[in-house]
């Protein structure tokens, strides 16, 4: 096993890795930018090395600085976390050249699975299902008609040269196809200078289901089941869970989708931890989307239900140990949920809300886990992802997990900055969410009603409590100015007299 490992990341994931290192008796090296001098991962690490100024292009993304830090401190391996350099094949390759072990897959696997088109090719060759369609332009209407008939309606026409919805048309019937092709093509021509369009099957209201895989460097590879991450906004996941409510309803799906994931991962000679993302329909069909060649943000839900520590295994595998767990050893128990607590305002279109945290209480108690990277008084920097904490819970059923999460969200208090905790409170009380009828458009459907409710007049009890608390505070501040003179609520000292 390694003696010393460098963590090339920040925030909650740097702490998550640091905790695993400490549990395995490995010394830790943190790296930090100027914005993170007081960040928890720096305070808790055994050693810490400054990388550079706040922008990540000048700090957490500079390969040379990170490799220098590893050399200076004698770290034998680098854990990249997620984001930053974690899926950068050139970085993994530079580590290999520098004889520092990259804790993750081989750089060739990252290269192969990093591009969507190349990953799709690997999946097709491995015999795994992908969204049916073409990736190249369609020559003429006859070809389009034949293809649409073979994959089945509805289909989606997309511009080959671009994205963002331009040149995109949904087609429900063959009679609409010719006109839709003409429209899509002329729109694509105007937007991208190329009228080329391609065609794929439209998956309606799909679920996002992903499979965790884990493999050693001796050819042994297993899957650890699925996570459902359909609650997302602009492709950013917000709530994740395992098991997927769909798998709970169709238990054989786990093996089918798990085996498809293993086929693809094997074809890429994959080792260490990785995740294969699929779109799934309520009838149990699924299609490979892409692979994340790293540890996922939402790995705690898999750890809850399998009882395995993924970061421990990442380290042991990178150190050359054999993965001693057979596929048949993997057991799934209960239900886990995770909420991503972001510094952003769900009532203002998720506007980031950086700043100094004033009060901060994390939930605790049975079945609750918090992976966070902040503390009271910590200023959340503008420069990075606004993830403050991951709140995850476990209980024996989904229903109980939801109740537990609702309880835990109620115990989580953050002031000074705005968080999205109120969104979770609303979501956990939502009947459609509770019933498990999820799809990737769920949150977009949910938000307008949620925002409208939040903007309605506050309850009388809340108003009374707010006034009484604020009045009490200001009275105490007048009484004990030496202790709390920091900010008197009163506009002028002269008015104080009449208030006593």
């Amino acid at each position: 096993m390694f003696q010393k490992v460098l963590i090339a990341n920040r925030g909650e994931i740097a702490l998550r890795v640091l905790r695993a290192l400490r549990e395995l008796g490995i010394r830790s090296v943190a790296v930090y930018s100027d914005a993170d001098r007081a960040a928890p991962h720096v305070l808790q690490a055994d050693e810490a090395v400054r990388l550079g100024p706040a922008p990540s292009q000048e700090s957490y993304l500079v390969t040379e600085r990170i490799l220098d830090a590893a050399r200076e401190t004698g770290a034998e391996a680098i854990h990249p976390g997620y984001g930053f350099l974690s899926e950068n094949a050139a970085f993994a390759r530079a580590c290999e050249t520098a004889r520092v072990k990259f804790i993750g897959p081989h750089w060739r696997s990252i290269e192969q699975m990093g591009s969507k088109t190349s990953a799709r090719r690997v999946a097709i060759e491995a015999g795994a299902p992908v969204v049916p369609g073409t990736q190249q332009g369609i020559a003429d209407f006859e070809q389009a008609r034949g293809m649409a008939a073979s994959i089945g309606y509805p289909v989606l026409l997309k511009a080959a040269a671009g994205g963002g919805g331009k040149g995109m048309r949904r087609v429900d019937r063959e009679t609409d196809l010719e006109a839709a092709m003409r429209d899509a093509s002329s729109e694509a021509q105007r937007a991208f200078g190329s009228g080329e369009v391609y065609l794929e099957k439209l998956i309606e209201r799909p679920r996002h289901i992903e499979v965790q895989v884990l493999g050693d460097e001796h050819g042994h590879l297993i899957h650890l089941g699925e996570r459902e991450c359909s609650i997302q906004r602009r492709h950013q996941k917000v709530v994740e869970e395992s098991p997927s409510p769909l798998v709970a309803a169709q238990p054989e799906l786990r093996e089918r989708i798990g085996n498809a994931a293993l086929k693809i991962a094997r074809a890429a000679n994959y080792c260490n931890a990785g995740t294969l993302e699929f779109l799934a329909t309520d009838s149990g069909e699924f299609y490979f989307l892409e692979m994340n060649t790293r540890l996922q943000v939402e790995h705690p839900v898999t750890e809850w239900v399998t009882g395995l520590d993924l970061v421990h295994w990442q380290l042991r595998i990178a150190a050359g140990e054999r993965l001693t767990i057979k596929q048949s050893d993997v057991e799934w128990r209960g239900s886990a949920l995770e909420c991503r607590v972001y510094a952003e305002d769900p009532l203002q279109n998720f506007m980031p809300s950086p700043g100094k945290i004033q009060h901060y209480t994390e939930p605790s108690g049975p079945g609750v886990r918090v992976d966070s990277g902040v503390y009271p008084g910590f200023a959340v920097p503008l420069d990075y992802d606004p993830l403050l904490a991951k709140l995850s819970v476990w209980s024996s059923s989904r229903e109980e997990s939801i109740a537990r999460m609702r309880r835990a969200v109620g115990e989580f208090h953050v002031t000074g900055i705005t968080t999205n905790l109120s969104l979770f409170a609303g979501l956990l009380n939502d009947a459609a969410f509770q019933s498990g009828k999820l799809h990737t458009g769920f949150l977009d459907d949910f938000l307008p009603g949620f925002v409208a409710r939040a903007f309605s007049a506050p309850a009388a009890d809340e108003v009374a409590a707010a006034i009484l608390a604020a009045a009490h505070r200001s009275r105490e501040q007048l009484r004990q100015p030496e202790q709390t003179q920091r900010e008197s609520l009163w506009r002028a000292g002269g008015r104080a007299g009449m208030l006593r």
Binding site: L347, N349, L382, L421, A457, I467, L468, A469
Partner: protein
Amino acid sequence: MKLRAEVAGEGYLVELTPVCPAPGALASDAGGEVTYSLTPENGAAENQPARTGRVSVREVMPGVISLIEGDRSSTVFLSTPPSKSPGGVVASIGGTDLPVVLGDLRDRAPRSRDARSLGPQEVRTSMPGKVVRILVARGDEVAAGQGVMIVEAMKMQNELKAPKAGRVTSIHVAEGSTAAAGETLLVIE
């Protein structure tokens, strides 16, 4: 003591009378019991009746206020808003954030027929950004939660929403201009 409070743009007349502590108790505690009365300035609305009560109040940690009224216990977390509005605090209770401004009775705002439109509310940006689009004009009537402006910050376009229903009385920025954190962009009255 008598004072005026404004919560989420709504005005209240507040009267607080400390209840004498039992002998030997509470002398040095940051707390005690008070009787109170709250009267909405614009007459009691259906959801905001005038009320009176007796409550035990204690600041258990800086900014954390415990209230017990009858057998009902609640905790309020007070913080100062990131943008400095004079005299204001944010009271977080049960997941709801309510801006509270305390003042004396002379601050009382002129009466209005429409209770919801009382008190101007400012639309601010919590972070520096560029004003991409202004969706309303001066004089427009807006609904609570309606989008009024699009600001780009951290490479993301964010639609700012009206904090209350009312009329747009002033717009302080132009499309394409840069806004600093906490800057007032637009006022709704």
